[in-house]
Amino acid sequence: MQRIGVFVCWCGTNIAGTVDVKAVAEALKNEPGVIVSTDYQYMCSQSGQQMIKDAIAEHKLTGIVVCSCSPRMHETTFRKTAASAGINPYMVEIANIREQCSWVHKDMPIGTEKAIILGKAAVAKVNLNAPLTPGESPVTKRALVIGGGIAGIQTALDIADAGFPVDIVEKKPTIGGKMAQLDKTFPTLDCAACILTPKMVDVAQNDKIRIFSYSEVTDVKGFVGNFDVTIRKHARYVKEDVCTGCGACIEKCPMKKVPNEFNLGMDNRTAIYIPFAQATPKVATIDPNYCNMLKNGKCGLCAKVCAAGAIDYTQKDEFIEEKYGAIVVATGFNPISMEKFDEYAYSQSKDVITSLEFERLTNAAGPTAGKLLRPSDGKHPHTIVFVQCVGSRCEACAEKGKEYCSKICCMYTAKHAMLTRDKYPDTDVYVFYIDVRTPGKNFDEFYRRAVEEYGVHYIKGMVGKVTPEGDKLKVQASDLLLNKQLHIDADLVVLAAAIEPDKSARPLATLLTASMDTNDFFTEAHPKLRPVESPTAGVFLSGACQGPKDIPETVSQAGAAASKVIGLLAKDKLTGNPCVAHSDEMMCNGCSSCERVCPYGAITYNDKEFRMPDRTTLIRRVASVNPAVCQGCGACTVACPSGAMDLHGFASSQIMAEVDAICK
């Protein structure tokens, strides 16, 4: 029989406001095994924990029930408390009477009644708890960063700086990401390339960092400290270690009409290409969809002009297998498609563009060499209309856009408007906004400068319809403050498209078994206290894959993720989760049902000798679980027809006891 102590937390008024904590403590006193039952204002506080320790010593307790917030919050805290008082940490159970009781019910009697039942269930469970000891596993001291934008670059540099090897996997032929496409950055207007490319060079020159560009992660196995990852390196038909990046092949390539994705299709590139001048690695890549040699064997010019002999038309995709201790997701974002917002005529006029396209139009390395010219006729636009919140802040069920605020648009639009007025003072610039959101250091000052010093017309209202007619774009909009409908003949319309996670994020999350929200942003382990960790141990989050972010925020989160990775890799051993499956060999009939459902291959079958009552021996085939590999899902426990398989910490008898306690 256990000797159980029950500790009911008030959590200030968070619990005590809707649950009569004294009554709960009193009611649980009479439960089987309960020796002491008491309450306190903050159980997680120093003195609350001391109270538990004292009670353990005084009453020789063997089990603890804490009725408090969610176990996701403080289970670890109270386990540590118990351990420091000398009892096994897995003898602690939490009754969640805050998130799942006091916060969702308003009525004191109802809340109290439910809290008592939840407490009883926890007591019933603890009565059947057994001390558990976690196993240990080694840590592979190498990190994987998926995504080579500014988030991935910064994370990799910081991890490498601490002395650990890092691999970056980037699906494009070069690292650099979205930041490489930008012209200037807010709020200081330094040029994006000037601050990004030195970092790209650092990555290339760091002997701790390997770049797998034009590559994807195709498989992830294992667990924290011990991930086995397969990386598919797409054939670029150019030997990376031989190519010097001289560009002779690009000059000679006859296939010159390939839409240039780096400039968002606003100009063309060749079939063999280097995305931009500072690409890292600076090696050429052949686009197999356009290369004549690869398509029909007719050409081969690039191989002829390549002095280094780097071209290899027979190259195949390569699969690399590597072990990692930690994985950082830095898959970034993309602007959403404007297909469902064609009231702005994006598909009907070349002069309706997205903000990222505008960025390329003003970039010195862009299709117009930095001159702001209309894509349709190459003329200088005299009236430009910026439309904010295109696809952001939409009602979820409207199925058109995104429910969230994309966060970066207000600032980059202010930047675009300001730079336009600065370079071309003869241009009229209108910005239609719903709200201007500038919560960042020096952000609001920046936006005010756009209005006050640069004379950008900020209009509170939205654009309803853009009608291309002749060489004008007729913009119909509302000015809510003047209470007027406006009609503006614009030359260029720029849409601040909402941003969404990269499409590769969803399949990657499945590979990593990392959770995502309904918008396909990765979920953090705790929204406030563990913002750069995924709930899946060993998986960390960096940059916009977790939510919309600007560059300063991305870089700080990248550093934070790196420090978490360094903390993990610095350990030699990790303690595992003792809540793993185990099989009763006497009951096992060797049917292999459990082996078939185990997603980790943790179950193997061995022949074992059994001594029979009549002193003969019998060799039977029985299951055994490798506790280092088992993750404790419990699929096998249900598949087992003989009831031999059970799960530590969530034993069938324990869950049944909870059911009984709740249904009493």
């Binding site: 297909e339 469902k340 917002f341 064609d342 009231e343 005529a345 598909s347 009907q348 319809k465 853009v466 009608t467 291309p468 007619e469 002749g470």
Partner: protein, 272 residues
């Protein structure tokens, strides 16, 4: 050997009052073309006027009964209900949607009708254009074209009723539709894209404020012409009336007439 199926596909057909009167061309050629394409339009018996506009008010019951009756007949015959007039289509489709999604409203209607069986939005409501696209197929139409409309620059005018509210109508992308353009292409002509093709012509407000309708209709015609249109085609009798009344100086014809011309069922006179 499999015998080639030549059986006519049967669908229920709701012509509506305007098609029996001022827009007979829309009706006549819809029937002729359907027959040529292997679809038999079975007119609903004793249909009544749809009412022209769908009242979005949840407590409007009586005005929606004629639609429900037609839908119910189609249900009993287990056929989709095909409409041609944009207004009829809009009213019937919205009524059907309300019957299938708003239980309170459907309950009231069913109690009011007090018939043996209840109706809960089971019938599929299909515009003639959707029938061409989904049942017949534009590819098949292309094969059947005998007098392709080669060289003609035709602007599709959708107006508002065919596309909106998109959550109910679900015909096409409401901001950048292509169903009529695809038909125009299948008939051998060149579709003209212009932004105002899904803007309102002024509709019934012509009776209340002719100047408003004039402004809206002119904006549509101007935009179409600036994009190079020589002909405007539409599915809606009221759109056609408004555009012509308000000074369209290029032909405005029903899409069924274009179809009939290409299928060799109508002389190309370009008359209005």
């Amino acid at each position: 050997m499999l015998r080639k199926r030549t059986k006519m596909m049967k669908v229920s057909y709701f012509p509506g009052c305007t098609l029996k009167n001022k827009a007979v061309q829309l009706d006549i050629y819809a029937r002729k073309c359907a027959e040529a394409l292997g679809v038999s339009l079975e007119e609903i018996e004793n249909w009544q006027c749809c009412g022209g506009v769908f009242s979005t008010a949840k407590d409007e019951i009586a005005t929606k009964l004629s639609s429900v009756r037609a839908l119910k007949e189609a249900k009993e015959k287990n056929r989709p209900l095909v409409t041609v007039c944009s207004a009829c289509h809009n009213v019937i489709k919205q009524t059907n949607h309300a019957m299938s999604t708003d239980a309170e409203f459907a309950g009231k209607v069913n109690r009011y009708m007090a018939e043996d069986t209840d109706y809960a939005g089971e019938t599929e409501v299909m515009h003639y254009l959707e029938m061409l696209r989904d049942l017949v197929g534009f590819d098949k139409i292309k094969e059947k074209v005998v007098k392709p409309l080669t060289g003609k620059k035709i602007a599709a005018y959708y107006g508002c009723l065919l596309l909106r509210p998109n959550s109910v109508m679900k015909m096409d992308n409401p901001e950048n539709p292509r169903i009529i353009e695809d038909l125009i292409r299948a008939l051998g002509a060149e579709p003209v894209m212009y932004a105002n093709r899904n803007e309102c012509c002024g509709g019934y407000v012509i009776m209340e404020s002719p100047s408003l309708a004039e402004k809206k209709s002119q904006a549509v015609v101007e935009n179409a012409k600036s994009a190079g249109a020589e002909i405007i085609t539409t599915a809606c009798p009221l759109c056609r009336y408004n555009l012509l009344k308000n000074g369209a100086d290029i032909p405005v014809i029903y899409f069924t007439e274009l179809l009939a011309q290409a299928l060799g069922l109508k002389e190309d006179t370009d008359e209005q």
